[in-house]
Amino acid sequence: MVTEASADTAPERHPIEFTASGSEYFRIWIVNLLLIVLTLGIYLPWAKVRKLKYFYSNTWVGGDALDFHGEPAKMLRGTLIAAAFLVVYSVGSNFSGWAALLAALAFVALWPALFRAAMRFRLANTSWRGLRFHFAGDTAGAYACMLPPLALALLPVALAGAMAGVPVDGKPPALSAVATGMVGLGMLAFVAGLPYFLWRVRRYQHDNYAIGPLQTQLRADLGVLYGIFIKLIGISFAAFALMLLATGLFAFTGRKTGVGASFVIVAALMGFGAILLVNILPKSYLQVRLQNLLWSTTGNELMRFDSRLKFGSYLALQCRNYLLIFLTLGLYWPFAVVNTRRAQIEAIELQTRIGLDQLSQAAGREDPGATGDMAADLFGLDIGL
């Protein structure tokens, strides 16, 4: 590993700007939705490209916008393959224990490859100043970081389900002690190892982002990540206890005063408070801390990022988003997406010790297929870009 370049040359700082507006994205979103509904989903890739092009052309790094190059007609094939896989998977897992096991096995076996394909497609089709990005991760690396957690999380459950599905001597099938123990142990190992697995996956991603000759590296400390998760558990417990206490008090007073209009209003407020405590608060905490940790430790000797997302303002933003989405019956959703993205992107700063004009890349361009990227969308996999 190369050490930091001489510390006396201060790095150049380039803010990252996000200029998308909620009202404009709302209009794009509505038109996209109409076309998706009318075409029964065939329009999905076109909608996705329009959305990504909008977001990328509004993301400015050092004064130049990003661009997305995916071609919808080519991505349609990927969509159809991914959708067929999704249908087979969800139908298959409903049939019987053994079919579910097979589906889970296929899922585990394919997931890392799909993930890598999604990363490759997305980066190869993203450009800045005429240079395409590149994802350098290999298939072996993807399997190495993702197989253990996937196997731990899915296989014991599926195996137990398959074993429970076989009736023994006509007796009602019951979960054997072995199966229960196996599921329990698998879950325990999964939960205890979660921060480690997450760190492995993120390292696989952040170690392999490249533009021109520059490739990034993640130097995040695993201990810090464990610290974040321990604090997260503490926060969740405190929130849960607070909620129980409030609900108890509420039920107690409700019994005394009876049901009135003010009671209903208080109940609605309590409901929102509960969502805030058990959902928004821990989720926002994790998102803020993870982003700051991961992006502030990503880079190389010539360029690095610095992320300073503030927890308080981010939490307030998310509370407002949830409340307005609820009050507008979902119509606020595009505004919430743009707000959240702006907060996340503009918290990041790029620092370079090389002129932004000095990057160059050899000719020759890869053209990875879109199946992985569309599958990632359909299965709800978040590749975090």
Partner: protein, 352 residues
């Protein structure tokens, strides 16, 4: 078309921007270096170029063949220059850029979604359900029965001959209504373990109908009412409502996840729940219609169902007085249509 547009040019190999000018002549776009830049001017055909869509704050990037690209220096000037090329914008872009277009699209979207919800999805669900082998229904039904046997139900205390009498009457009724043959069914008697379950009947996937003792005891002098209820449950069995609900719920879930992407599963689950409850009310109406058909075939007046609902109402009042009824959510979110609506339906059927 002699005016030129000042742009930044990137050759696709280096991140260094170069000042350039765009000229359009006929069907050809020429990219020429501004004074002081070194690259050689070149031309590309205009027709295959995909011009960037007009947006309020976004950049304008035009991708050229062989990886080169040009970027707008001044977005307003770019838009004006592209507009005078005379290339029409697609209706999608025009709709996106004005609120009247968006309002129209919103109305169309609501109409299309409503049509899909009302006709499209039930139609698809019927097709998918028909394709699923009945074996699957039976398998799911057996699992459901096992799980509710463990949690909500206890063995029946009705006498064997009383059970047989009801089973026989119901079999004759089904035979009378469907002489051409009806889907298989099985009648199971159980006692409610939880008082709140009370008089109830359930149709499980695969044709198993569970009847609680409390329902049989609700109107001891009027076994016809029990047959009416069984007719309703038979409607669920015949139309495979349970399987259809399953298909519809997962389809709605998928649609919602497409629309709202990854912004929290919490927000996505509310519309799924509401849509499922709506479908469930439709299914109850269909089952009521089947119940009337069976009762007519057996020579029973649908009026017995009116008496049944009144008895249920009395039972609920008793429960309430005993402080057992904590059902405060009300009918707005209920899976069954309001009792009044169903009573009116059976009364009308009795009058015909």
């Amino acid at each position: 078309m002699s005016s030129a547009l000042e742009v930044r040019f990137f050759d696709g190999r280096s991140s260094r921007p170069q000042a350039a000018r765009l000229h359009a002549r006929g069907e050809v776009l020429t990219i020429a270096p501004a004074s002081g830049e070194a690259f050689a001017p070149f031309s590309v055909p205009l027709a295959p170029l995909r011009w960037p869509e007009r947006t309020r704050h976004g950049g304008r990037l035009l991708q050229l063949p062989q990886g080169a690209s040009v970027q707008a220096l001044d977005v307003a000037a770019w838009d004006a220059w592209v507009a005078q090329l005379g290339r029409g914008e697609s209706w999608v872009v025009r709709a996106q850029q004005n609120w009247r277009g968006v309002a129209l699209v919103l109305v169309l979207l609501l109409a299309a979604t409503a049509a899909l919800y009302q006709w499209g999805l039930p139609w698809i669900a019927r097709g998918v359900t028909a394709a699923v082998p009945a074996r699957v229904d039976a398998m799911i039904g057996a699992e459901v029965l096992e799980s509710i046997d463990q949690s909500m139900l206890a063995p029946s205390t009705l006498s064997a001959e009383q059970q047989e009498r009801l089973r026989g009457a119901f079999a004759r009724m089904v035979q009378a209504a469907h002489p051409e043959g009806a889907p298989g069914w099985r009648l199971e008697f159980r006692r409610a373990r939880d008082k709140r379950l009370g008089p109830n009947a359930l149709a499980l996937p695969g044709g198993t109908i569970v009847l609680t003792d409390e329902l049989v005891e609700l109107l001891p002098d009027d076994p016809d009412a029990v047959l009416g209820v069984l007719g309703h449950e038979f409607g669920h069995v015949r139309l495979r409502h349970a399987m259809r609900q399953l298909v519809q719920a997962s389809a709605v879930g998928f649609a919602v996840s497409v629309a709202f992407g990854d912004f929290g599963t919490l927000i996505g689950s509310a519309p799924v729940l509401l849509a499922t409850l709506g479908y469930s009310r439709d299914a109850e109406r269909e089952a009521d219609a089947e119940s009337v058909r069976l009762m007519r075939a057996a020579g029973i007046s649908p009026r017995v169902m009116v008496l049944f609902f009144e008895a249920i109402e009395r039972w609920r009042a008793v429960q309430k007085r005993a402080g057992l009824d904590d059902d405060a959510i009300g009918l707005a979110f209920s899976s069954h249509p309001a009792d009044a609506e169903r009573i009116a339906f059976f009364r009308e059927a009795a009058a015909e």
